[in-house]
């Protein structure tokens, strides 16, 4: 996975969730990561990278790292 993508996804997640996050952070470990914040995070990533997550990709994306992996894969990296 492109480290630049992971770094940017971490920045976006920190900003949207208003919490300190690591690559392994998930809704279970971050208090503010509820359904509305998850939506905000997904929309922010879609806006940043110019694509929409498929339903399957949304299922896979359960941590910050897995979100970054999906982004990398969609960018062909």
């Amino acid at each position: 996975m492109n480290e630049q993508v992971l770094s940017r996804v971490l920045e976006i997640a920190t900003d949207v969730l208003q919490a300190g996050v690591t690559p392994e952070s998930s809704p279970e470990t971050v208090e503010s990561w509820d359904s509305v914040h998850h939506l905000n995070l997904v929309l922010a990533l879609e806006e940043e990278y110019g694509f929409e997550f498929s339903p399957e990709e949304m299922d896979q994306a359960k941590t910050v790292r897995s979100l970054a992996l999906v982004v990398s894969a969609k960018r062909g990296e």
């Binding site: 949207v16 809704p27 359904s35 509305v36 998850h38 939506l39 806006e47 299922d59």
Partner: protein, 372 residues
Amino acid sequence: MSLEIVAYTQEMVAAVREFNQRLLGGGALAEQQFPETPDPGWMPGMKLFLAVEGSMVRGGYILRRQSFSVAGATLAAAHYRLPLSEGIVNRSYAMLGLRMVRDALSREPRLYALGMGGWDRPLPAMLKRLGWSMCAVPFYFKVVHPGRFLRHIKALRTSPLRRAALDALAYSGAGWLGMKALGLARHLPSAPVDLAPGFAPWADEVWERSRPSYALVAQRDATTLEQVYPASDPRFLRVRVAGGWAVLLDTQMQGHKQFGDMRVGTIVDCLAPLESAGAVIRAGAGVLERRGVDLIVSNQLHGAWSRALVESGFRAGPSNYLLALSPDLAEAAGGEKMRPQAGVGRLKPAPPLQAHQQFHFNRGDGDGPIHL
């Protein structure tokens, strides 16, 4: 294991029951329960969907397909209702709310949601963020019996001191005088009114004459109205007057969270050419007053119906009854199609719904009268 969203069938009832039990066990509200039957029979045109993970149900929602009239032209749309996700009690499913909205939009891009309990609830927050056009459907009330209103209005009787003060006003008659002075207890002159036993072809004539006046209105022909307010249900009072109609409810509350033990009249639904709105509201409110209700309430979005209520002595109160139109439905109704304003540092809410005062929405829409 991946999730998929499928039509609700009879074989899934047991899994839905387990899903409901997990929600309750996790602290969800008692009303946050999905129907334990694929055919709850509440309203015509409903189709139920479930989010399933293997043999487990993790969420569900209902689409109710309806016809709308947009300035006289017919348009298909659907009501997005009762979306429930295990994300309420288990953050592993925090993504499911978004997944279900997108699934519903893929089945019908022209969606609306109604009610939702207030701006601070997750669903309206999510829809607003997704660029849905939103507004509150105004709430109006008229006090008919001030004494009983003051003794039973739970929303105001929130402390011992307040209760004592309201009781003093109620029993001394000062409350009645005060409300009279403020125009809150004005009685309407009585006039002859036709209470119809059901909706017959005359309602089709009202529908055809009225629909061009409204920028957006759900179909209210005789067949549709008979499904929502069946003649077999004795609760519904159908006032037919001035080339229009209103559906009323006269309900004796018991320990209601807002209305206590009051007898509450509701102007649930109504339709007429706009110039007749005042006559219909006056007639409907007059019927309820003469039946002896303590309070009359109504939610009406259209400006003509709102004005008619105010001119009949109603006052506006706070409303948690929200309307949300998906971008495609808002555009079809003559608005601008909004895009979600995403991106870090640019997280803006969608602008408020424009032209909504020409849309006809009330408690007859959405879930209809099932919660009244």
